[in-house]
Amino acid sequence: MLNYIKSELYRIAHGREIYLVTAALAGLTLLMNLVLFIFDRATPDFPYATVQFSMNTLISSLPAMFLVSLVMVNFLFGEEYRNGTLKNLVSFGIPRIVFFVGKCTVCLICLAACLAVVLPVYIGSAYLLLHEPGFLSVSVMLRGVAANIPASAASAVLAVTLLCLLKKEINVVIWWMAIMWGIPTASFFIGLKVDIVEKISEWMPWNYLQYEVAANMSGVYKCLWETPSGLAKCIIAGLAGIIIFTAAGIAGFRKKEIQ
């Protein structure tokens, strides 16, 4: 397992995918703050050129972290079938479970590395370009990101699972969207009529990050991770996702024929 992880890290370090994704994400956050800065200069009394507004943007769109996981997995492992490298692993006698778990681990390491670059760029550029210190918003955002790391990891594991099972990247994206967004959204609406479904849908990351997070310019935050029970919910839901998707991945990939 360790050898596989080391080899993947070697490959990723010598490739350009991780640098591209990280640069794109960091660039995006920088661009957002830059746009606010330019509007501030161009428009008198522009109210949104604040660190708080910038942080609130991410706080209220934390499911974006899940999408980042999907993008990262696709960039890192998206061409395994096309390159014929997956069949090499099998034919060289590396157990499927080893490289499935190895891929998940490598992906999480890469996501952590990416986050370690993007967050400082995001916060740093906000402080450099925008008004008001907004310490509270930064700390709420950081706690939100930390609380949702397990759910993001689950999203990455799901993407790895789908990539190992499906040949085409477009199918991976479709299935990922169906599981991460389609099922929670459908459950939410069914839950309006059926109580048990409502209870289940409340534990789905996409839903609780949509409906249990409120951040506004008045500086009042109602974010579920700010309460112990809400934080526990984020962690439990994320860990459950990791376990479910890992089990599904191992079970499915063990039987998968690599054509």
């Binding site: 050898n3 070697y10 490739g15 390159n83 069949k87 099998v90 060289f92 006698g93 157990p95 054509q259």
Partner: protein, 308 residues
Amino acid sequence: MKEYVIEARDLKKSYGDVCALQGIDITVGRGEIYGLIGDNGAGKTTFLKLLTGQVWPDGGELRMFGAFQPKDLERQRKRTGAIVEAAGFYPRLTVEQNLEYYRIQRGIPGKGRMKEALKTVGLLDQKRSRGGNLSMGMKQRLGLAIALLGEPELLILDEPINGLDPSGIIEMRNLLLKLSREKNITIILSSHILSELEQTANVFGFLSRGYLLEQVSASELKERCSAYISIAVSEPGKYTAFLEKELKETGYQVMPDGAVRICCPTWDIQEYSALASRHGIDVYGLEKKQEALEDYYMNLKNRGKLAC
């Protein structure tokens, strides 16, 4: 007692309704170069995929290095190197980086073996080229270098000369012969180019529509692919009667075009034309031929030896 690296017994594999392998028995001894021969869809690649663990058999038994349990087979695959369909590598990494990736993955200490593999396949000068920028032949060589990195005891190669230029084909042939001779590596390879296989393999397996028609050693094949005389005459029926009566030849065959093929001729070639002349039979053509692997394969197929 002969040591077998691969033993397949009644091996079956289907893809949906399509039977790719219909219960084949193949044995490959240590140090052999085994050539799999067959048309498209004969089951060659499927058999190789079963060996590499890419697909699972539906029935029968597959043993590699004596192991047959799935877990044990997986372990034994560490002793193999393979290229099935196309060489697998990362196109954006250089040749050297690709090998380093697999070296780390397979836990091979030191970089000496990487250099040796590159030297063996003749890619040392291209080590800084990106995999994706290599020519088709170079890509095949890179795949082979990756396969050789773990010092395999068994090499599984699917159409290894596909895309190679003439000198590349010769180099690949010499390389495989050298690996077999010097390192006693067992090689199983498939190819459509029978004349090439004839020069490389020392055991042949003829596959057709999922059946193994025959497994034969090169020496046996040489005996069977014996010389024959083909004589085109005006009255084949009359001629064969005299052939039996006067020259005591019974090993002949009247071909669909009317030519008489005399297998393992016991007389000088002129005797056969003289026989026709003596009885007033016109001779349109006379030649002595050696049956090639291609002819043997076609005959085998046409004889309807298969039950499919």
